[in-house]
Amino acid sequence: MTDQLLIGLSALADPIMIGAIVIGVLGGILIGVLPGLTSTLGVALLIPVTFSMPPQVGLAMLGGIYVASTYSGAITAILLNIPGTPAAVATLLDGYPMSKNGQSTRALALATFGSSIGGLVSVAALLFLGPLLARLSLYFGPPEYFILAIFGITVIASLSAGAMEKGLIAGAAGLLISTVGYHPLTGSMRFSFGAPALFDGIPLVAALIGLYSIPEVIDMIAKRGSIKHRAAKLEQRSPYSYLPELFRHKVNLVRSSVIGTLVGIVPGVGSSVAGFIAYDAAKRSSRSPEKFGKGSAEGVIASETSNSAVTGGSLVPLMTLGIPGNPVTAVMLGGLMIHGLQPGAELFTTNAKVSFGFILSLVISNLLLVPIGLLFAKYCVKVIEVPSAILAPVILLLSIIGTYSIRGSVDDIFVMLALGAIGFACKVFAAPRAPLVLGLVLGTLAESELERSLALVQGDVAAFAWQLVSRPISLVIVCLCVIALYQGIVQHRRHSRVLDS
């Protein structure tokens, strides 16, 4: 472990790596403050840029975007009462009232410090849990990998908002799209209809950009206009003078960091839920719960610490088992794959420079959040006023060029647009996109492991099913799939009852 940490540190010594992290954090802050632009879109748009970089540098930049965009939604939540990202919804409950009370610098400072600490705790969890869990993957055979991929899709599909059937349809559609092109073992061609651009399957980056950027650009154009809000004025006091106040809330910090990390590790839950759970826990244990909702610093600290702690937590199942916990990590899995990296034990041993360099880069990202976030907070309020008539064409152009840049193929642009149409359809029909992305990303793994498993039992489906329930690890994962489906049904019934009432 010490050796691997040193290898990771050596990767960080590269000035290009530090530059990549700074650019990632800056870009992430920008994306987070612009309502409608999500961390997922930011990571998807940046993947083409990182394609020609060394893997650890590219991943560090993606990590910077993820960490910073999760945090920076709080800036607009506090100053403008607009959550830049869904993760910051719980933050505005007390952040904006604090601003209205003339404490915007205090709210911003506490949110920033809290985010940084939450992120650092979750990175520590990733650093110590990651290699341990990755070793577990050595006991995985083809049936376990197959059922693990199905579990990842099932859990996200069943816990997605709205009807569970739609989540499962999206997951299955993603898997079906992933079968386009050559069969992974026999080499037979499927669903390509003679188009050479589809022979190698749907290009992953084009698909990710299409699914996440096109629907957002359409939405931006449909709800045209800039946001004109009067931002709360920042008081003259230095934000760093609030640091001692933060440490008076040690219990809140620790509790919120643990909640965020644990919520991040569980696939399908997400940062906004973590924020609300920590907010609720802080309110219950507060000596002055009546202040919550009226400008309580405890509320801001709890929400921000917790939602930022999700970042490291969600990377634990991603890097160890290849199971993304949310849409951003699903897109990051695509980022790992285009660099030829596979999650699991090998990532932490053979590719220690990449994995540990990446994990340690997250430490730097979380530290850089403080100076960069506090410095740019007041300017970010101006960025939000950029009209969508300017922003939408630039994002669309970046999506097109980014798609083209991966293989230098104009055909990929059309593939990206086709996937964009599917993503738009998902929005129109209120179907979740995350299971679709996950199906697309994990489809090849699921199919090739299924075929290998079947080959081991000479194609006997009954024997394969027996394998799934007779091998301890696969049996555990099958049980988890059943629990996820049951949870989805319970959640759906609760949701229906709420609608009916």
């Binding site: 840029v49 394609f51 020609s52 709205g162 009807a163 059937e165 739609k166 499962l168 349809i169 299955a172 559609a173 898997l175 079906l176 079968t179 069969h183 026999t186 037979s188 499927r190 669903f191 096109i214 650009v217 359409i218 939405d219 154009i221 449909a222 709800k223 045209r224 009209p387 969508s388 008539a389 300017i390 939408a392 064409p393 630039v394 669309l396 152009l397 970046l398 097109i400 060029i401 083209y404 840049s405 230098g408 104009v410 642009i413 059309f414 647009l417 964009g420 149409a421 738009f424 929005k427 129109v428 029909f429 209120a430 179907a431 699921a446 199919e447 299924l450 075929e451 079947l454 609608l499």
Partner: protein
Amino acid sequence: MRTLHRDIVLSVLVLLVSVTAGWVAFHYPSDSSWFPRVLTVFLGLMAMILLVRSLKTTGDVDIFDGQAAQARAAGIVFAAAILYALSIQFVSFEIVNFLFLVVMMYVLGQRNPIVIACVATVAMLLIKLLFFVLLDVSRPPGSWF
């Protein structure tokens, strides 16, 4: 229930897709199409469950409200992107990028010519610098200008 009609339309569409994809998949050799066959059957089943559940649901049926603006926006985005992709095969990348940004900004309501010219020029130069100078991506084949 706002989502009633929307779910019916979705389930019918998915059913059509699953039947079509299934028909294609069942014509491939079985050793290469086991997975897509299972998936199309699963998709069809899920679509039928969604359809039955949507038909059973009672209540108001006002659906697709506010979707006209979305449809218009989608039309603009797809038309612009397709035109762009076709153009860069013939016209120089710099010209296409500049024109794309100018036309899109104008169509979306930006009327200040100085803002349009400045944004289009700066964005075009930054994209050129990032992708074609720093990242050394091969240029699109446009050769007319």
